[in-house]
């Protein structure tokens, strides 16, 4: 039952990926290790396309990964799995919030989770870098694009399109 497994895996991601779309990357990388649903290289394509299409990145990546695994229904099931924990948790919190109370436990747990999540993303970045930074040209492009991203702060689409052109022109 691939659909049940997809739903369960993305449900877990929805429950533990705290802090937004990019945070789901290490979890998706973990799935690439665990199952043969998609390769790490395909994951990088999914990240780029999810950043360049409308909609929240996390949702886009879940739909894409689900589609790669099990077609259209796979995409839908993975997305619903990702969304369900949010729905349940927020409805529970909303009840307290509107009664003027605050979710104290999560706020304190977050003190430890935030730095841990950064370590997760950094390590995922390292694993993916080992796949795509294979010669000095690609390392140079990575350094220059990182500098431009930090300096100009344009939307990711711009860099992704530029990189596609560079890839075609220099036959990377």
């Amino acid at each position: 039952m691939i659909y049940a497994l997809l739903f369960w895996e993305f449900f877990k991601i929805g429950l533990t990926a705290i802090g937004g779309g990019m945070v789901t990357i290490p979890f998706l990388l973990d799935l690439a290790d665990k199952y043969d649903w998609y390769t790490k290289g395909e994951l990088m394509d999914m990240i780029a396309i999810s950043e360049s299409t409308p909609g929240p990145i996390g949702v886009n990546m879940a739909t894409y990964a689900g589609y790669n695994t099990a077609g259209i229904w796979g995409g839908i099931v993975a997305t619903l799995g990702l969304v369900l924990p949010s729905l349940v948790v927020i409805i529970l919190i909303a009840k307290y919030l509107f009664a003027k109370e605050e979710g104290g436990f999560l706020r304190q747990a977050l003190f430890g989770i935030r730095p841990a999540v950064l370590a997760l993303i950094l390590f995922a970045g390292w694993e993916l870098a080992r796949l795509s930074l294979i010669n000095w040209q690609s390392v140079l492009i990575a350094i220059v694009s990182f500098g431009l991203i930090r300096w100009l702060k344009w939307h990711p689409i711009v860099y992704i399109c530029l990189a596609a052109v560079i890839g075609i022109v220099f036959e990377l």
């Binding site: 429950l15 990926a17 705290i18 990088m44 949010s86 747990a109 977050l110 935030r114 999540v117 990189a163």
Partner: protein, 181 residues
């Protein structure tokens, strides 16, 4: 019923016109829900958004669920969430099915070879951006180093690391409070 449809449709619009999610969505949410429809106030939206950042799940979905719940309870939350997710599902399925046909085209292969390099830079940029609000003081650095160690040396899964870090963060805050009192 009309309200549910309004919730679905207005979040559908936000989902359709946001590129990137998270912070990129905030101005759209403000325009649609604070100024145009007056469903929530500015400060409520900021509250939803910051709670959405520190609760499980994608921030965009969390914020949608909050607004929907405020207007129409549980069913409203579901309507708003489905609204924000639907454009993603349609567009990604479309793009993915078209792209999968051209994945062996040499131009597409070269383009994605270039794109994969920039993806690494984008991930690194996300880490730098999140660092300021995420890593505070010696405890933050320690937690960061410990997570990296557990990941590399012990091969712990991301889910396990988040659980361990959450418990550690909670325990540290308890310890701080006890020391103060």
């Amino acid at each position: 019923m009309k309200m549910l449809w309004d919730l679905f449709f207005s979040f559908f619009k936000v989902g359709l016109f946001t590129f990137g999610g998270g912070a990129a969505m905030l101005p759209l949410l403000q325009a649609e829900f604070v100024e145009r429809r007056k469903w929530v106030t500015d400060s409520e939206l900021m509250d939803f958004y910051s709670i959405g950042q520190c609760t499980p799940g994608i921030i965009a979905i969390n914020t949608a669920t909050f607004v929907g719940y405020k207007k129409q309870g549980k069913i409203g939350a579901i309507a708003a969430t489905l609204g924000i997710v639907t454009p993603s599902i349609i567009i990604i399925l479309l793009v993915a099915s078209i792209l999968s046909k051209y994945m062996h085209n040499p131009y597409v292969i070269h383009a994605f070879a270039g794109i994969r390099i920039v993806v690494v830079a984008l991930i690194l940029d996300a880490v730098v951006r999140l660092w300021k609000q995420g890593v505070k003081g010696r405890f933050g650095w320690g937690m960061f180093a410990l997570s990296l160690l557990l990941l590399v040396a012990a091969g712990l899964s991301p889910v396990m690391i988040v659980i361990v870090a959450g418990v550690a963060g909670y325990a540290f805050q308890l310890y701080l409070r006890r020391k103060r009192s």
